[in-house]
């Protein structure tokens, strides 16, 4: 795998390893929003996400003295995040409580959404919102590993290569998991389309 030429976080990591706690704070501030999206879309629960994020950064802080820079800090912290989340999900099992976020509120600013509703067709908007809700349900029906790759690729926008580094699997495995997960999601949503809400 390619070594990153320049890790943009290298300076902050070095300072942290030298004992500069403020440098680690900067890493926390930088990575919290990104990791939030990753963990939340895997757990679908705000409280669990918050607790996991705290544990992820705590673990990273404890382990950073052993970080040798073989991968970028970005890859390293994402590995910690994904693995801790997967472990958590295994232990949590199916007892989760879905935080029913109103994606309607947040998708309004999405350019694609606005363009797709430019005709001001209320029926179309209802379909889209209902689809989002069904999609959330469908995501939770995927296995934890499949949901992880879907989250990283589609939601976080990570390339296959990066995902394979984080999960320590081959790129082929990443692609096949994505393919399978997409089929699953399609099937769940096709069922919805055949039996739409009136």
């Amino acid at each position: 795998m390619d070594q990153p030429r320049v890790d943009p976080d290298q300076e902050l990591v070095k300072r942290t390893q030298s004992g500069d706690a403020g440098a680690f704070d900067e890493l926390v501030i930088k990575y919290t929003p990104r990791l939030y999206g990753l963990v939340y879309n895997m757990t679908s629960n705000h409280e669990d996400t918050n607790d996991l994020l705290q544990d992820i950064f705590a673990k990273a802080y404890r382990a950073i003295s052993g970080f040798r820079g073989k991968s970028s800090f970005y890859t390293w912290i994402h590995s910690i995040a994904v693995n801790m989340t997967l472990n958590f999900l295994k232990k949590r099992g199916r007892r989760f409580q879905l935080s029913l976020d109103d994606v309607d509120a947040s998708i309004q600013n999405d350019k694609e959404f606005l363009q797709s509703t430019a005709t001001n067709s209320p029926v179309r908007e209802a379909d889209l919102s209902e689809l989002q809700r069904r999609l959330n349900e469908a995501m939770m029906k995927l296995s934890d590993e499949h949901r992880a790759v879907v989250t990283m690729f589609h939601i976080q926008g990570m390339p296959h290569a990066e995902i394979s580094k984080i999960l320590r699997v081959s790129e082929g495995t990443v692609r096949s998991r994505l393919f399978y997960a997409n089929r699953q999601l399609q099937n769940y949503l096709d069922e919805f389309r055949k039996n739409p809400v009136s």
């Binding site: 004992g19 949590r92 209320p122």
Partner: protein, 163 residues
């Protein structure tokens, strides 16, 4: 369309990146992180704290500074901190510490937790254990601060022009 193709799924999934925590969450996150770090540190055994501090101190040391006065002062301060921790972690000797008033006025429900930061920085929270994965999320809901309600869109919503 009869079936969703990958583009449709991808588009719907991309919209999920806009799901965000409540306002103020990220601002509070670092603060909460520090608090947990302090809690965790206070629960460590004394020998471990000394070892970590000594290790950190040695990492920062070099030959020139060994001969410097600031290094000696730093060493004294480290020892003082270690001794303070020892005193504050042993409840039977807390009476000695009470000769100097606490840096922060703790709320009545606090268990005599001491913060090592300056009085201005933080309020004292009841110590909570580092989260274990086998804990149910419900324990956190019960202890959760209240959500102050003001949504970003009204709930009333009409999908079609029908009546």
């Amino acid at each position: 369309m009869d079936e969703f193709d990958d583009n449709e799924i991808a588009r719907l999934l991309r919209l999920k990146r806009y799901e965000q925590p409540p306002p103020g969450y990220f601002e509070n996150f670092l603060h909460e992180f520090h608090r947990r770090q302090r809690d965790e540190m206070l629960r460590q055994p004394l020998w471990r704290i000394c070892l970590e501090r000594a290790h950190g101190f040695m990492l920062r040391l070099d030959g020139r500074s060994l001969a410097s006065y600031p290094a000696a002062v730093a060493a004294v301060l480290v020892c003082a901190a270690v001794i303070s921790l020892k005193i504050y972690q042993q409840p039977e000797t807390a009476r000695v510490a009470l000769q100097s008033p606490p840096a922060l006025s703790a709320p009545a429900s606090a268990e005599g937790e001491w913060s090592l930061t300056s009085p201005v920085a933080t309020q004292i929270f009841t110590t909570q254990p580092v989260r274990r994965f086998n804990e149910s999320a419900q324990t956190h809901r019960a202890a959760a601060p209240p959500r102050y309600v003001l949504d970003s869109v009204p709930v009333s919503y009409e999908p079609t022009f029908r009546f």
